[in-house]
């Protein structure tokens, strides 16, 4: 007993052992120049230090000492950039934190998208998938496909799945939605699962009966609001030119019946939107939303393989994004809480130890791991974008079909393994040494759509260009303006 106590107790050591200056060992970290004056060091779990340019070089060349750089040295040790022991005593803490960052993988696929119909009464110019048609037999999901989709969803190891109804315009097939919800409720009860239901809709066909049904079944509504009337109606062409009014009325009715927090809106950025960042933000504020998701223009369908155009479009989007973000920050600094959701996703990764379940910005990628799509015709795709590609006759990400494929074929099949080689940014060229790796993700579907291969080529990648600059900009804002970091802290807590 005494021997054990002598050998393995954790009593504090003598003061001298904490003041030694006998050199240090590097721990895995990456660095990046934020601007001429400042650079950022990021360790394996996403902890960061923003320091003067040249600091990384000094750290790596062992030119930092406890005596001459007391504060920096302490920060480097405390944040796992250097260690005085070859294997840091707290390596188990670090590895637990690494596992926490990847905890979104624990339960596997959660989001199950059912493309309940391809029919739509809108003819939006950026939509490649919808059909203006009365032909339910050809463009609605069949009952048997709905049954099979639910069967696969119940096989997910995830105890809490999301069943999302998309279109076309999902409400045009409300009878199918009702059938699917009834079936899924029963299956969930039998399989001890919890299901969150979401209907993605432009709200134009919304009736009181539909609202009552959504209330009874706790169905969330996700709609679209592209900004002021002239932008929304231009983006979302419809006979009668009344898409905007229908959306606003629908949002109001949803809030009244379902509750304020049961309806959310998504912005689809178009070329027209890029000239009106402030007007779009004002529209969201006036419509009673406390957040906006500034999503980039989808490159699917019109920018494939055109490097120069892709770069130009991304530059334009980034200028729009920064102008909009600056305006949003100003609104917050003036006392009104209003959040930008894309920045918030990144900031949660930067400022908290927790993962964020956002399928477009994670590594391993969200495809299959977190999302699966059952198309109206029974085909199964790796992500929502993958089915858009399919409508453009590109079936690269087809994983199987609801008639013939079983769970194993779809989720652990040859194609899934093939994509897995390209879905982790830790092993992609350019990403593997990127300082922003922990905050970013991989998107093989986008790489394939815009560059012709699932691995992608970072120097001309729209994904890389966009995310690198947005992440860099967020860090620069926090470094230069402590009051903005306080605003960001309120975003990640709400």
């Amino acid at each position: 007993m005494t021997e054990l106590a002598e050998k393995k107790n954790r009593k504090f050591r003598e003061p001298a052992s904490y003041t030694s200056n006998s050199g240090y060992h590097l721990l895995p970290f990456r660095f990046f120049r934020l601007n001429v004056a400042r650079e950022i060091l990021v360790n394996e779990v996403g902890d960061f230090l923003i320091v003067n340019t040249g600091t990384a070089e000094k750290v790596i060349k062992r030119q930092i000492t406890r005596d001459t750089n007391e504060e920096l040295y302490a920060d480097l040790v405390a944040n796992f950039f250097i260690s005085e022991e070859r294997i840091p005593a707290l390596i188990d803490v670090l590895s637990t934190r690494y596992r926490t960052k990847k905890a979104f993988l624990d339960n596997f696929t959660s989001l199950h998208i059912f493309v309940i119909t391809l029919r739509c009464e809108h003819t939006c110019h950026y939509c490649q998938v919808s059909r203006v048609s009365e032909d339910k037999a050809s463009f609605d999901m069949s009952m048997s496909h709905i049954d099979k989709g639910i069967e696969l969803m119940m096989k997910s190891p995830n105890p809490h799945v999301t069943m999302e109804f998309q279109g076309g315009e999902a409400l045009l097939a409300f009878d199918k939605i009702k059938y699917a919800v009834e079936k899924a409720n029963m299956a969930a009860w039998e399989n001890h699962k919890k299901i969150t239901y979401v209907i993605c809709t432009n709200l134009a066909p919304l009736t009181n009966e539909m609202l009552d049904y959504c209330l009874q079944n706790e169905i969330l509504i996700s709609t679209s609001l592209d900004g002021p009337e002239f932008i929304h109606n231009k983006n979302r062409h419809k006979k009668g030119n009344d898409s905007y009014q229908l959306a606003l009325n629908g949002i109001k009715r949803c809030r009244e019946t379902l509750g304020e927090d049961r309806v959310s809106a998504l912005l689809t950025t178009s070329n027209l939107s890029l000239d009106y960042p402030e007007e779009i933000i004002q529209e969201y504020l006036h419509s009673g939303f406390n957040s906006i998701f500034l999503r980039p223009i989808s490159p699917y369908g019109f920018a494939v393989y055109n490097e120069k155009k892709n770069k130009y479009e991304t530059d334009r989007f980034l200028a729009f994004y920064k102008k909009a973000l600056d305006k949003i920050i100003e609104i917050n600094l003036n006392g009104t809480f209003f959040r930008e959701d894309y920045a918030t996703i990144i900031l949660k990764k930067v400022l908290t130890p927790f993962p964020v379940g956002y399928v477009d910005l994670q590594s391993p990628a969200g495809m299959i791991n977190n999302v699966i799509v059952f198309n109206y015709n029974g085909k199964i795709y790796a992500s929502d974008e993958a089915r858009m590609l399919a409508e453009m006759k590109d079936e690269t990400f087809l994983l199987g079909d609801l008639e013939n494929s079983n769970y194993s074929d779809v989720f652990y099949g040859e194609k899934a393994f093939q994509f897995s080689e390209a879905w982790a940014n830790e092993s992609l060229p350019g990403c593997s040494e990127c300082a922003f790796q922990a905050y970013c993700g991989a998107d093989p579907v986008l790489n394939h759509a815009t560059q012709g291969d699932v691995y992608g080529y970072r120097p001309t990648s729209v994904f890389c260009q966009k995310n690198m600059e947005i992440i860099r900009y967020l860090f620069e804002l926090m470094d230069n303006h402590p009051e903005i970091e306080k605003v960001f802290q309120t975003w990640i807590r709400n």
Binding site: A5, E6, K8, F31, E57, Y98, R99
Partner: protein
Amino acid sequence: MEIKYSEDLIHVLLQKSLYAEKVLYKCFYWYGGSFNVDIKDYSDVEFLVLLKPKEEVKEIQPIIDKIKRDLIDFKLREIVAKETQVLRELLVAKAFANFEEEDNDPSTDVSDPVGFNPLTLS
């Protein structure tokens, strides 16, 4: 290191003793968007990197400055990667090891500060 710009081509001559091939590939990978990049094993002691701009170059000096800066950065990154490779592998292995196993006992037999072994307590 020697950098020349002539006939619409940037020539970068680099000592093998200073820059590993891996460093050159990682560094000049990022130039592929704006340049056609060619990395040659030039002699026993040197690599030659040829960069042909895809668009007209208006000012050469900022590009030369960037090349010099990037080479240093990628060499530093290589030092970190090399020195920490084992630890990084250990970290990831530990993070995902025994994930499925229930582990109710203390994971080590390190005692508390008073110096007794918690495993001997019933």
